[in-house]
């Protein structure tokens, strides 16, 4: 007998301290946020009754929503396209098997810095500099896209078989030729899948950015709320839901069609 197998209640001892710690942190966080169960109850009850109050949607406003919705989709699409193209450039610069170490470190640093600034903060700064409009929205989505895809793609490029790059070098191919014929075909499947995934995120973000001042359906939604036109807001909400659901299905279908291996989620 080894004798070390104690299967009495004692074995739960090691969970006691972490549990107490977790409860203490949760309690502390709840105090900081002013969260109580009373407030939770009123939050749920009032939230639901408010949703009920917003019903029914104002269908007359529906046709006013179509153009803002289209604007939002275009902003998200342009942000994704520009972001994807630039992220390939950044990824190549940030891959250790392609570029020099100081180029790589600079590129990685820029990507890392970008990743740690939320898109909304970028948007606020851009609005402060250039004023309201679709341009700050597109630029902040593009930057966000570079931060996310740049890192993912750089990691994929670094996993490319070094023998293949060496063999191309021995053929006398220059850097650009290696990138175009050796690297690009290998990352295209992942590129497509990541870009589609990022497009889904950008659609959601474009709504939020719109509310701050990038225009589009998000602005329409926020404006209806602040003008207390709740039925109109409900219509905008339905349009946004259709947009999100539609892009999700579309990206799912496209990804299935491309049969991408190693796709995100």
């Amino acid at each position: 007998m080894t004798g070390q197998a104690t299967y009495s209640f004692k074995r739960y001892r090691k969970f006691v301290l972490p549990l107490i710690l977790l409860i203490a942190v949760t309690e502390g966080a709840a105090i900081v946020c002013g969260a109580t169960f009373d407030k939770l109850e009123t939050g749920i009850v009032k939230g639901l009754s408010f949703l009920q109050f917003m019903f029914p949607p104002d269908w007359a406003a529906f046709k006013d929503m179509l153009e803002p919705a289209f604007q939002s989709i275009t902003i998200a699409a342009l942000g994704t396209i520009f972001g994807t193209i630039l992220s390939v450039v950044f990824a190549v610069l940030a891959a250790s098997n392609i570029s020099h170490s100081w180029v790589r470190n600079t590129a990685r640093f820029l990507i890392g810095l970008e990743r740690s600034v939320p898109e909304i903060v970028i948007l606020l700064l851009l609005i402060a500099a250039f004023g309201l409009g679709s341009m700050p929205g597109i630029v902040s989505l593009t930057l966000g896209c570079i931060g996310m895809l740049g890192k993912l793609l750089a990691d994929i490029i670094e996993e490319i078989d070094p023998v293949m790059i060496e063999s191309m070098e021995s053929l006398g191919a220059n850097k650009l030729q290696i990138i175009w014929f050796g690297v690009m075909p290998q990352i295209i499947p992942n590129l497509v899948s990541y870009a589609l995934f990022r497009f889904e995120i950008n659609i959601r973000l474009s709504v939020i950015l719109g509310a701050i001042g990038a225009g589009g359906i998000g602005y329409e939604l926020d404006y209806s709320f602040s003008m207390l036109q709740y039925h109109r807001a409900f219509t905008a909400m339905i349009v946004v839901m259709v947009m999100i659901f539609g892009t999700e299905r579309l990206s799912y279908m496209l990804r299935k069609k491309f049969k991408v291996e190693g796709a995100l989620q």
């Binding site: 007998m1 080894t2 197998a5 104690t6 299967y7 009495s8 074995r11």
Partner: protein
Amino acid sequence: MIEVKGLTKTLPNGRKLLNGIDFTVKKGEFVGILGPSGAGKTLTLRCLNGLLKPDEGSVLVEDEHGEKHDICQSSKKQLRHVRERIGVIFQGYHLVKRLSVLENVMIGRLGQISTIRSLVYGFTDKEAEEALLALEKVKMAHLAQNRTGSLSGGEMQRVAIARAIFQSPTLLLADEPISNLDPSNAKVIMKLIRPLSENIPVVGVFHQPEMTAKYCTRVIAIKDGQVVYDGDPKLSNKTLEDIYGEELAQMEQYEHAIPTPEIVRI
């Protein structure tokens, strides 16, 4: 004792997978079921503990009090009661890889202890000691506290046998227990299963006539959903040919090739 009568299973397209299987196994017997692939061996075994419901037929199993239960007619609750005492060894070991070896053995008693206790408290010290005894029988006690995922295939199958022993079963079923193992590990497993048949009936599905000839007390051959042979484990070449047909030539080829030992380490 286990009595199987007239097991029949038909696909919706009319193809008969099982076509009236009858046999009885008493305690002291170690029965090996042989047959070509797709003959219905595993299907039959799955009917024996109710993982599969046949269209017709009955499977009578004795519980620990000697009462007979028809598995095919049992309600869900009765079925669970009967299964408490049926040990099953699977081809793919079917152990929870993230739990310790000891916990995997104790899982064998889940049906016998109350659900609430198993969810809230877990197992008791007494059960842990008994499980350790079962592990000693298969010479695995030294690894009791290890994570199951770190074991090799042969070791995992020994843990699975310990789990069945820990159930103190009235019937032991084995579904191709040695098909994933190399020859030396396969022999170890067969040597561990054999003595269990002294007190309870043991039924196993096998792919290796040499192994059943050596360790089983009786062989049942199934072909096209019917029992075509029932008797002495040492089969003549003529009977083997009858059972396996064209597959036999392929099997002889394989006998010369040494199977690669499969090491499952994660």
